[in-house]
Amino acid sequence: MSKYPPGKYTPAVEVGLDRMRDMAKGNFDLKWMHANSAGWGHQVTPGPTGLRMRDIETGYYGQVPEHGSTHGSMAPRGCEVPPGTRSLPMYTMNEMSEVWAENAGLLYDEAVVRQWNSITDVPWDKLQKLPDDIERAVCQMCTGLTEVEFVAGDMPAKWLCRINHDFHEVKLFLASQIFDEARHLDVFRKRALANGGGLMMASPGQEELLATILEAPDYTTASALMHIFGEGFVLTLFRQGEFLAPTEVEKAIFRLCMQDEARHVAYGVKHLKYFLERNPDRAEQVHKILDLGEQAIFTLTLEPQTSEPRAILAGGGLANIELGAQRMAFIYAKQVKEYLRRLEIAGLDREPRLTIPKEIPYEDLAA
């Protein structure tokens, strides 16, 4: 008597058992062997550093559709999708211009080969006992960065699962960004806890900016606000962190994070450029979200738990905090200048619309 009598299992299992019975009799389907003839015989030449995405996404497979496929499945771009494949309603971002950037594949390649980790790539053995005011300043700076870093993971995660699978270059890049941000959160928390200090005060000012990013009405405005504006400002803070680093440990941390952040900014600039070239009428929406972001970051920049630790580090100690604040006054102007220049590349003339000062006249204000 058969161990699998008809009718014992659900219809879906029965279909599978029927299929197995056929195979046991030597009846194989093999239709898949002749599927997708247009995509067969693809020729690939690896680049000098290995097999990069740009090396395989050529010809038939390099054709990215302006309107993503309507089958709504996870089927990879370029394969044959059998009729009856289930459609998943979650993919609501189906227009290339909503997400695309010409450098997305390149930046993904770069991200995966430039990976690092906070366990072995930071020379923790070079940590030194620091004066109390310096250690507190480093720990406060790391607390703030731990808080801010993961928005740049949460924001792409919020949108990633909505993006059509035909735009896998973008999905992969955003996935790499989420892991970059995880590493940043990890390494800043680790530094705050590693040298006898600890986490210090959270930043209500940062939460305002983070909320604006997470609540942005669509992906492109969220990206403009986060990739170009927020991460551009943070990139400068990372450069400043390397500049102010009291030991080789912080130096290494900030240098590694700086590289990651610059990739995210590069994607944001190229995405906004691609988007605005095809949707010039949407520029006003981008301006409006940047209005909000600028207001939030101005408050944040001058929040004591953000600005004062950096002034202490720049001055060389609490006793010289005023000198440090003067020394670091140029940072803000640098952030604004680079922000405007990045938007210019993207095709957005922001300067006439800027809602915050281009520089903080620290000495005038002090007078």
């Binding site: 450069r239 590694l256 990045r342 210019e344 590349i345």
Partner: protein, 150 residues
């Protein structure tokens, strides 16, 4: 001085490129880079420009330029006086790598004594994106006995 290489010169940057070749495993750990760097040296005798093109784990080209206009369209420029370059190189040689106040980022961040510029901000951002590799490239100076132009 015997067995020294003059800075700035094509030979000096080629010496760093050779060290990069010999250190491929180290560069592989950092990841490949694709960018063009122009080094601008303001010397008492005038401005000198050198272009280093990076691809993968190699400096694929080194050449002297008559002007920045000759550089590859996508590039960034590191500008400093000869004295600043000299101090950075000597510090790198003395410490087998730069100390905390002689890294490329440290020197360029306040826009003095060194500046990074480029045709657009994304080109400048390439300096940030590949900073570890570029720093390692200049760290190669630790092994290059260097003489300096008067």
């Amino acid at each position: 001085m015997a067995n020294t290489t003059l800075f700035p010169s094509t030979q000096w940057f080629q010496a760093l490129a050779q060290r990069m070749d010999q250190d491929e495993a180290g560069y592989r750990e950092l990841g490949p880079l694709e960018c063009t760097m122009v080094v601008q040296v303001e010397a008492p005798t005038g401005t000198e420009l050198y272009e280093v093109g990076f691809e993968g784990f190699k400096a694929r080209s080194v050449r002297k330029l008559a002007s920045v206009a000759e550089a590859a369209p996508e590039h960034f420029v590191l500008e400093a006086s000869l004295d600043t370059w000299r101090e950075m190189i000597e510090n790198t040689r003395a410490n087998a790598g730069p100390d905390l106040t002689h890294t490329l980022n440290y020197l360029t961040f306040p826009d003095e004594p060194m500046r990074v510029t480029g045709p657009d901000q994304l080109e400048v951002d390439a300096f940030y994106r590949y900073n570890q590799s570029l720093q390692r490239f200049f760290n190669g100076a630790a092994d290059v006995p260097t003489a300096f132009a008067p």
